[in-house]
Symmetry: C2
Subunit: 268 residues, 2 copies
């Protein structure tokens, strides 16, 4: 299970402020802590100012890269901003994200293909997210036809089934798990990812819903997720799930994490 660290996201108030004020220390601290906690990529989202997105992305990228050396996930739907920003990265980045929307496919896939990027592909179309797993899987099929047509290998595509909140549809988790299993079955070279926290939107005790959902998703084939790597309960969910699935030889990762205090109760 690989983690895409979600914390450098300009749609969050505190991060937006740091971008606005060019507070490099704040961003670099988020970058270092996520990398130390085991993130494989750092998501970089410059927020909601389209006319300065490229500048903000470049400022973020340069400051992040001055303190960590893991690859980034450039989180933007704006091809022009991506084309500019990608020149500033040291390592081939992931692009977050495409969807079944033709404009987004045509705008972003050439960049993905040209630079050999990994790309997150959302199971949605023209900003609509179908209710059923059948309809979402149809979109996934359309997307993979497009990525293949652009010469992007399946192994560079990370499908996100989209976890809608259970509070409005009690079948939401089952639908997402079903899509994960189907993608793994039909496109075994493709990867699977998920934005975790939406599943519990509007519910109490959200962290319980997120962490058990993550366990079931890993069992269904999930191999990466966009989440907060500093959340010890989430780390514990990943370690415990991999232990139970028989993927932790001699229980070594689990035992080591225990010695590091991952399973201890937070002191706050």
């Amino acid at each position: 299970m690989k983690i895409i660290g979600e914390k450098i996201n300009g749609t969050r108030k505190r991060v937006a402020q740091a971008i606005e004020e060019r507070d490099a220390n704040f961003i670099q601290d988020l970058a270092k802590r996520q990398a130390e906690a085991g993130a494989s990529w750092l998501d970089v989202n410059a927020g909601t100012h389209p006319n300065q997105e490229a500048d903000d992305l470049i400022w973020l990228i340069e400051n992040i890269q001055s303190v960590v050396d893991i690859p980034l996930s450039l989180d933007s739907a704006n091809p022009a901003a991506l084309r500019t920003a990608i020149k500033a990265v040291n390592k081939t980045p992931m692009i977050n994200s495409i969807s079944g929307e033709p404009q987004r496919l045509n705008g972003i896939l050439p960049i993905v293909a040209e630079h050999g990027c990994q790309v997150i592909a959302l199971a949605m179309d023209e900003n609509k997210i179908p209710e059923t797993s059948e309809k979402r899987f149809e979109i996934i099929t359309k997307i993979i036809e497009a990525t293949r047509a652009h010469g992007v290998p399946d192994s560079n595509v990370y499908f996100d089934p989209l976890a809608m909140t259970i509070s409005t549809n009690t079948q939401s988790a089952m639908i997402a798990l079903d899509i994960l299993r189907r993608v793994k079955q039909e496109y075994p070279e493709a990867h699977l990812t998920i934005g975790l926290s939406n599943i519990s939107f509007g519910l109490p005790a959200r962290s319980f819903v997120n962490r058990y959902f993550l366990g079931f998703a890993i069992q269904a084939g999930l191999d990466s997720a966009i989440l907060d790597p500093l959340d010890r309960e989430i780390q514990a969910a990943i370690l415990t799930t991999e232990l139970l699935l028989g993927r932790d030889a001699h229980c070594l990762n689990f035992i080591r994490a225990s010695r590091k205090g991952i399973f201890d109760k937070p002191v706050d």
Copy 2:
């Protein structure tokens, strides 16, 4: 998910002492708290003194029944003690347990059949627990032939696949889950149960292993478990799993439990 409350067990030191000293208050308190926490049965194990097991069981049963009215699970491999004790119960009890061992089947199944009891059946033979799910499933097949031959309906049989510790075989959880799924497939009328805590024996952070394993087991078809109903993290695992599996209409059980504080951090 139904819970068989595990706490009144004479192989535990403190309970053995209470039985020895005829400390009815201690036992009744355990009975009341487990029933209030939602147990559907209370397991009653008189401990390790075979020549006084029947007397101890009757003393336990009478004291428990004076404070709670849920059925009991008589936890004994001793047919003579069971025949005597069963006369003292107010409600048809569960018997815990039979196995593929012929002596145990022949000694206990007539009691189960005569009284219309439910019975827990362990996937083991003559005190040996096979490593593979195939071999354990063969035992389950032998057991169901025996229960049917005695006229016990499949719906009264609760198969326990036996969760061995992951610390000595990293595939232990996968084997148990595989058996759960196979029993559900092959004998859909039969029930599934499990003694939860053994899966984590010898590991650190055992409660994490137990609770995520419980989640996966419920997904695999588990409909009851022998566990500590007073453990809030376990209750949280059950509630969260049933929510994620789409079995909690309007999320009502989850939201109610949240209001009751099930998901709050313990104050100790």
